[in-house]
């Protein structure tokens, strides 16, 4: 990665030197949690989630793909990585994209594609597809040997080829898992006779233990970001916040608490405070965005229903400003270590991204680029501005 002024090759903050281990790691100090790059510099993830090339292969956009890129490898380097670097983003925060009305997703990039990008990344491992949004959600007996064999395969597939790659930030799992103990009971004979709380506690513990052990069999060094835990009230299906036992049981087996919650930071803050205390981990906001109307998305699109209206902004300028405000507030929490912005390129199903489906960036990226180009100085300034305000209020 070409170094920019003030940044190390991973996008870390050159002003501070900490211990370098050759891999991304977490660190807790008096001032809170932070990530540290392989070279030992503080790192705040400003990443992008959902990066899929089929967005640029519609009949109306196929010529753009052919003329500008022509192959997937060229699209990865000249479209994705070049754009992200240009805008000052510093990580790929999973790549599956929403591609059909019933929320089916494209496949995750392969390990070779992630590695070949030469850019920091957080891939997703499909240990168990029990997402709340997934109409094909599957629950399995996590105590069975089939589940162990499956997890071992996933770790062989992901971790064996990536174990020595410094650009790998860490491994994440399922996006918005639904810890439905009734569904687990249907497939798990050994839960018979246990009350729901104890049954769920055992399932959660076993799930995180088997997945953790599979990863560690092939990769002792990289961070584990775990599931992208679902925040409260994000879906029309109703309250979805996981019970506290999920946080207490996962703590031993993950390094970062990833949270997938489509709300402005002030609404999430109270829950995030509580959750990160329960598992004693830093928090990664793994997937959310602010959305402005565009050629595929009117103000009253059904997308904005069910809590998502809180993400709606008027225009691209507000969108960029909302990004800055969210990053500043998240950083100032002292425990949030990054954010994955939802969607690289618009497609006809998700309808929003940082680029249109004709490969043209939206104007919000100019504001993001301005902010990201002095990311760490801007973050420090925001904290200091905030603490002045707090002192002022105290007086």
């Amino acid at each position: 990665m070409a170094e920019r002024d003030g940044f190390d090759r991973y996008g870390g903050d050159l002003r501070t030197q900490l211990a370098a281990t050759g891999f991304f790691r977490t660190e807790k100090s008096d001032s809170g949690w932070r990530l540290v790059t392989p070279e030992g510099h503080p790192f705040f993830i400003v990443g992008i989630a959902h990066v899929d090339d089929s967005a640029l292969k519609y009949a109306e956009s196929i010529d753009v793909y052919r003329e500008r890129y022509g192959s997937r490898s060229s699209w990865i380097s000249d479209c994705v990585v070049a754009s992200l670097r240009g805008w000052g983003f510093n990580a790929l925060a999973w790549t599956k994209q929403w591609v059909s009305p019933q929320m089916r997703h494209s496949p995750e990039w392969t390990p070779d594609e992630y590695r070949g990008s030469g850019f920091p990344y957080i891939p997703h491992i499909d240990f168990l597809s029990f997402e709340r949004w997934n109409q094909q959600a599957v629950y399995k007996d996590v105590f069975g040997t089939d589940f162990e064999d499956w997890c071992d395969y996933q770790a062989r597939y992901w971790c064996a080829p990536l174990a020595d790659d410094p650009n790998l930030v860490g491994y994440a799992y399922t996006a918005r898992p639904h810890w439905d103990i009734a569904r687990f009971r249907e497939v798990t004979p050994s839960l018979e006779g246990l009350d729901d709380h104890e049954a769920l506690r055992r399932v959660v513990r076993r799930y995180y233990q088997v997945t953790h052990d599979a990863i560690r069999r092939y990769d002792p060094d990289h961070l584990i970001f775990g599931d992208l835990v679902e925040g409260a009230d994000t879906l029309p299906t109703g309250p979805s916040e996981p019970p506290p036992v999920v946080f207490t049981e996962m703590g031993e087996y993950v390094d970062v608490l990833s949270v997938n919650w489509y709300h402005p930071f002030d609404i999430m803050r109270e829950s995030l405070d509580a959750w990160q205390r329960l598992c004693d981990k830093p928090v990664f906001l793994s997937d959310s965005a602010f959305v402005a109307p565009n050629d595929l998305l009117t103000r009253d699109d059904p997308l904005f229903e069910g809590g998502w209206e809180k993400l709606r902004v008027q225009d691209e300028k507000e969108r960029g400003e909302a990004y800055v405000e969210m990053v500043e507030k998240a950083y100032a929490s002292g425990y949030v270590v990054g954010w994955g912005w939802c969607s690289f390129m618009q497609n006809k199903v998700r309808k929003y991204g940082l680029k249109s489906r004709f490969d043209e960036p939206y104007e919000c990226t100019e504001i993001m680029q301005d902010f990201n180009s002095h990311l760490y100085a801007n973050l420090d300034a925001a904290v200091s501005k905030r603490s002045h305000r707090t002192e002022g209020a105290a007086r």
């Binding site: 899929d52 090339d53 089929s54 292969k57 519609y58 009949a59 196929i62 192959s71 997937r72 490898s73 591609v99 059909s100 009305p101 019933q102 089916r104 494209s106 496949p107 995750e108 392969t110 070779d112 499909d126 109409q135 094909q136 599957v138 399995k140 089939d146 589940f147 064999d149 499956w150 071992d152 395969y153 996933q154 062989r156 597939y157 064996a160 080829p161 069999r217 092939y218 006809k348 199903v349």
Partner: protein, 390 residues
């Protein structure tokens, strides 16, 4: 001796060349024709997945011999396949977890066989530079899938998803002469699935009522996916579903497939008996009659107990007997005028999943097996020529 074309076809038997694989019927016999116009029999190897070489027991072999995927494809896969007389990279995903107890009964208790996540991509096939097939997972309703999901083929979601599959997969391969064509779903449950689920329109229907509606559902399914494939790739064959021949195929589905698909593809495993092999020949001939399509046996294999997989018991005691069985099983159909290829099940033996292959868990070929395969495979064109000349 046969002189081979660049694609591994019979250079001595020529048809008009179109630049892509196609099928042709000539003098009462079906042929695959390679892009240069040579007669071609697709002899494929399935389930070629590198994760089988990354277990703790063989990771060092992977690092020493290959170290990266490109090297493994060139020096491992392509080298092996060519030297054993195989000319096609078959379906690459591998069975990596789950078991079926002592016997496999497609109508009994549901099984759940986990399959590897990612098939090979366009760049991998460019590296291999040999004929290959692709698969579009139109519906997740395989008979090995313990948690099938039957999607409504009349829904907007199905149409959008088929367009996504074609856009994302066919686009990158549309110009590639090495691509033979597109399979759809592996052993789809067109007969009721052991897990009890079914297409929404078919639930509660039985007998003639189900078959009648099944024809409509299957027609919509084939029409939709092939329309989207053709939109992004007008050049290649549609090889269709890989039907579960051992379970059976409803005639309504075969009639529905007929206007949309170019090849009748079927998974059909045999027992190591002459009766079972003849049963396969008769079943395939019957389905060929109904569809009027050339036939590929898209997945067949055999197994014997090994050091790391002593539970893989069959009527075959060892690798030499597997070699005999390969020759006898394929020998039962190879001279049929409708057969245009077969894809063999299993490259490197894994543990925890399939548990058999033509190479052992340490990446060494089972010589007693592959020597018989090689002799049989390289003679196949001569055999076809003699038959035509005779």
């Amino acid at each position: 001796m046969t002189e081979f074309s660049a694609y591994g076809g019979d250079a001595g038997r020529r048809f008009p060349a179109t630049g892509f694989f196609r099928v042709e019927q000539s003098a009462g016999r079906w042929f695959l024709v390679d892009p240069d116009g040579a007669a071609f029999v697709s002899i494929g190897m399935n389930h070629v997945d590198e994760s089988n070489l990354k277990f703790p027991h063989n990771a060092a072999i992977w690092r020493d011999r290959y170290g990266d995927r490109d090297t493994w494809i060139r020096r491992g896969v392509v080298h092996d396949l060519r030297s054993w007389g195989f000319n096609t990279v078959g379906w690459t995903q591998e069975y990596i977890s789950g078991g079926w107890g002592t016997a496999l009964d497609w109508f009994g208790d549901p099984i759940d066989l986990g399959h590897s996540t990612a098939p090979w991509g366009a760049a991998d096939f460019r590296t291999a530079n040999m004929p290959y097939v692709l698969q579009l997972r139109v519906q997740e309703i395989e008979d090995w899938n313990g948690y099938p999901s039957f999607k409504d083929v009349y829904s907007d979601d199905f149409d959008v998803y088929c367009d996504y599959l074609a856009r994302s997969i066919c686009f990158d391969h549309a110009d590639d002469p090495n691509l033979i064509g597109y399979f759809l779903v592996d052993i789809p449950a067109w007969l009721p699935h052991a897990a009890g689920d079914d297409f929404p329109q078919l639930k509660g229907l039985h007998g003639d009522a189900r078959n009648q509606k099944l024809y409509d559902v299957a027609s919509r399914y084939y029409e939709t996916i092939t329309r989207h494939i053709r939109r992004y790739d007008p050049n290649h064959l549609v090889l269709g579903d890989r039907y579960n021949g051992n379970k059976g195929i409803p005639e309504a589905v075969l009639r529905a497939m007929q206007p949309h698909v170019d090849v009748f593809s079927v998974q059909y495993f045999t027992e190591p008996t002459e009766a079972s092999r003849q049963g396969m020949r008769e079943d395939l001939a019957r389905w060929h009659e109904i569809t009027g399509k050339p036939v590929i046996n898209a997945d067949l294999g055999n197994w014997a107990p090994t050091e790391l997989n002593p539970h893989r018991v069959s009527g075959l005691e060892n690798q030499a007997e597997r070699g005999e069985d390969y020759v006898a099983a394929i020998g039962a159909i190879v001279d049929e005028p409708w057969l245009v290829g077969w894809h063999w099940c299993g490259y490197v033996e894994n543990v925890g999943g399939r548990g058999w292959g033509v190479k052992d868990p340490w990446d060494e070929p089972y010589d007693d097996l592959v020597s018989r395969m090689r002799d049989f495979n390289v003679a196949v064109h001569e055999r076809g020529r003699e038959q035509a000349d005779g």
